[in-house]
Amino acid sequence: MLALFYAFISQAHGRSFMPIAGTKVAQKVDSLYSFLLVISVISCVLVIGGLIYFALKYRRKTADDKTAYISHNNTLEFLWSFIPFVLFIVVFAWGWLIYRDMRSFPDDALEIHVLGKKWNWDYQYKSGKRTTAELTVPVGVPVKLIMTSQDVIHSFFIPSFRIKQDVVPGRYTALWFEAEKQGRYQIFCTEYCGDQHSAMLGTLNVVSLEEYETWLGDNPYKGLSLAEVGQKVFSQKCTVCHNVNDQRKVGPGFAGLYQKQRQFADGSQAVADENYIRDSILMPQKQVVEGYPPNGMISFQGQLAENELLGLIEYIKTLK
């Protein structure tokens, strides 16, 4: 029993288990959560305490105890219906207020587009800059994420900001936050989306405004050779499904792929040259290697700049 009681108290400090609140909205959620925790612990102690007390106090003494024939008590019954009702309505209203804040998007928010797809997050800024997995935003500036999915339903979740929103294919959904402190925050996908659902992670990198400006302006591949550009793009976008050795992960391993004979599901064959690699990236369903599911890979059409695509091809050619 003591272990449980301790667990109760630790749950009361549950807030401390939650990641540190990174936005004002998150702090409001935490205060509501504390209020809910306190009510819950009190009502649990009342009900369970009462239960244990009655159970011990009214233990059966003799075989033919006479028990009181109490059928009901209107005032008591009214009280324990009305008080929970009032408490629930208070909690409902409070929750609604905070939900209002979460759903009212500031007009001057910095808009970033999020594309969820099977097992990775892609971000695109108004300036055309694209990144994968890591989302960089300035601190203290309201950011509005306009999100959609390329295949199935995903869900963009930042625990430290207490916000979450499903990313539904075929339409746009939105989420907003204003980070208060710089730092790196964890991003999860919380709507079940298949094999690598648990690998669909991202990090939110909150930096100062100046850092953000310089980061936005510079070219991430400045001074890198084509193969090094390819290696950087590969590590961001492809490692979820492909290995650099020849081990199969979700897709085939790429070690020694270049100039190798490829046997396709429809019986045809081809040598893996530059065009084959390019087509496999932009139109994966066209030639599916034997033993792999038909619509396993999603097309990267329109998501890779020309230098990134050429870099990828060069990099894959170097893999032995």
Binding site: F17, S40, L51, T67
Partner: protein, 532 residues
């Protein structure tokens, strides 16, 4: 007034002999026992999947289940088996079938042949669901959310969907049977307010079963058509709306969770009164709460969809209505605790499970209110907080009630007593194991660990290890329970007609009861809990 039948060996168990007499029986008691065997078998199967999942999650990184695909299949089958084959048929079909006619003083349910058909629907549906394993199973989760369940999922999904479709009919027909039985086959003198509260629980459950399950039937039919014909209702690529699928799915699935809990509440009312030998506190409050919960349960499904792309207005409406459905649930809990006041309480194993139910269901209830709150659910949705909540109300609620109900009606079902010591030991293991498994998951959820994750971050490791250890304790607890039941059935010593001294009608007849339940015309002159 109760005429104890002469010590003739004639009862429903040896009325006819041989497997064929069981497979073609029309006796509600035998059908109840057949449901018991099937539900316990499926429960063990689902339990094995649960232990596989917990063993996998003992440590980050691939473990016993190897890769994401296998883990997702284990998670899907754990969900599908436990929901469709164990917890929805569980109390209504097993305990309900056996006890309802006895509680009403009737000779059988209204439509015995339909009752047998319900059992066959469950078994055929289960068979169809398991044929999906031949087509490399299904990894969509028991919720079949589109568009994942349409294009990408493995080809076994259609079988699981059609299996659930067939099992739905078992639920509809049982519900239909119980409504007609309750309306037409009550013993003379038994008005609606002299019925035991277990019958009230089954009656309100039956209403939900009849009104909600057909919508699941059409939803699953459309999902199967979506996969086979590409009809484009729920497929965004063809202009469909996946959120509409969620509306259709949860329109059934939330009332379904009340199909799971209302009969459990009925069992608890029986156990608390019998083992504190005291009349129930607030009979009408509990009876009307059951009906109230059944009615309001149809208005609240959207609290599963706060962050799914549903509009804010709909979210607010659903959040408010979910608070309303919380009130009658709270009323019932307070009534049970009040029943203990000034009682004469004895701690036999059914009572231990009833008290365990109250303990766990209260925690489940308060966390339910947290999840119903809009702002909290945005953080908690699809994290382990939700997993912990629904296990507290499902395992802590319905399974505790099933175990309590089995031990309570065991002497009436088999005419023998189970071993009290082993039953208590199984309770201790299940209760502590349960808290050790699922309480840390509340904290994991608060920390943001998402649900259905094959692999998790380092910071979640410690609590997951604690949770896995707890799950083994639960496993041991249920194995002890199974051994207790089998050992009791085999060579438990003879039980009297009314070992617990309870007042409801089933204890006035013999244990095990004769084929036609009562050897006399039962007359009801007073309420079900007349402990003076």
């Amino acid at each position: 007034m109760a005429v104890t039948t002469p010590e003739s060996e004639h009862n429903y168990l040896n009325h006819e002999k041989g497997l064929w007499s069981w497979l073609t029986t029309l006796d509600h008691k035998r059908i109840g026992i057949m449901y018991m065997v099937s539900v316990m078998f499926f429960f063990l199967l689902g339990g094995i999947f649960a232990l596989l999942i917990r063993t996998e999650l003992a440590a980050p990184g691939p473990g016993i289940l190897g890769d994401g695909q296998t883990y997702n299949q284990a998670m899907t089958f754990h969900g599908a088996i436990m929901v469709f084959m164990v917890i929805i048929p569980g109390i209504p079909a097993f305990l309900g079938n056996f006890v309802l006619p006895l509680h009403l003083g009737a000779k059988d349910v209204a439509f015995p042949r339909l009752n047998l058909l319900s059992w066959y629907c469950l078994m055929v549906g289960a068979l169809i669901t398991f044929t999906s394993l031949i087509y490399n199973g299904s990894d969509t989760g028991w919720t079949f959310y589109t568009p994942y369940s349409i294009e990408h999922a493995s080809s076994g999904t259609v079988w699981v969907v059609l299996g659930a479709f067939v099992m739905g009919f078992s639920s509809i027909l049982t519900g239909l049977n119980f409504i007609v039985t309750t309306h037409t086959l009550r013993a003379p003198g038994m008005s609606f307010f002299r019925m035991p509260l277990f019958v009230w629980g089954l009656y309100s459950t039956a209403i939900i079963q009849v009104l909600a399950t057909p919508v699941l039937a059409i939803t699953l039919l459309l999902l199967a058509a979506e996969r086979l014909l590409g009809i484009g209702f729920f497929d965004p690529a063809l202009g469909g709306d996946p959120v509409l699928f969620q509306h259709f799915f949860w329109f059934y699935s939330h009332p379904a969770v009340y199909i799971m809990i209302l009969p459990a509440m009925g069992v608890i009312s029986e156990l608390i009164t019998a083992f504190s030998r005291k009349t129930i506190f607030g009979y009408r409050a509990i009876a009307f709460s059951s009906l109230g919960i059944a009615a309001v349960s149809f208005f609240v499904w959207g609290h599963h969809m706060y962050v799914s792309g549903q509009s804010e207005l709909a979210g607010v409406i659903f959040s408010f209505l979910t608070m309303l459905v919380g009130v009658p649930t709270a009323i019932k809990t307070f009534n049970w605790v009040a029943t203990l006041y000034k009682g004469s309480i004895v701690f036999q194993s059914p009572m231990l499970f009833a008290l365990g139910f109250l303990f766990l269901f209260t925690i489940g209830g308060v966390t339910g209110i947290m999840l119903a709150t809009l702002a909290m659910d945005v953080h908690f949705h699809d994290t382990y907080f939700v997993v912990a909540h629904f296990h507290y109300v499902m395992v802590g609620g319905t399974l505790m009630a099933i175990m309590g109900g089995i031990y309570y009606w065991f002497p009436k079902m088999f005419g023998k007593m189970y071993s009290e010591g082993m039953a208590r030991m199984s309770f201790v293991f299940i209760f502590t194991g349960f808290n050790v498994t699922f309480f840390p998951q509340f904290v994991l959820g608060a920390m943001g660990m998402p649900r259905r994750y094959f692999d998790y971050l380092e910071i979640y490791t410690h609590l997951n290890q604690v949770s896995t250890a707890g799950s083994y304790m639960i496993g041991i607890g249920f194995v002890i329970g199974l051994v207790t039941i089998i050992q009791g059935m085999m060579n438990g010593e003879k039980a009297s007609d009314n070992p617990w001294g309870a007042k409801t009608l089933e204890w006035q007849t013999a244990s095990p009861p004769p084929h036609e339940n009562f050897n006399y015309e039962p007359q009801v002159t007073a309420g079900p809990y007349e402990y003076r």
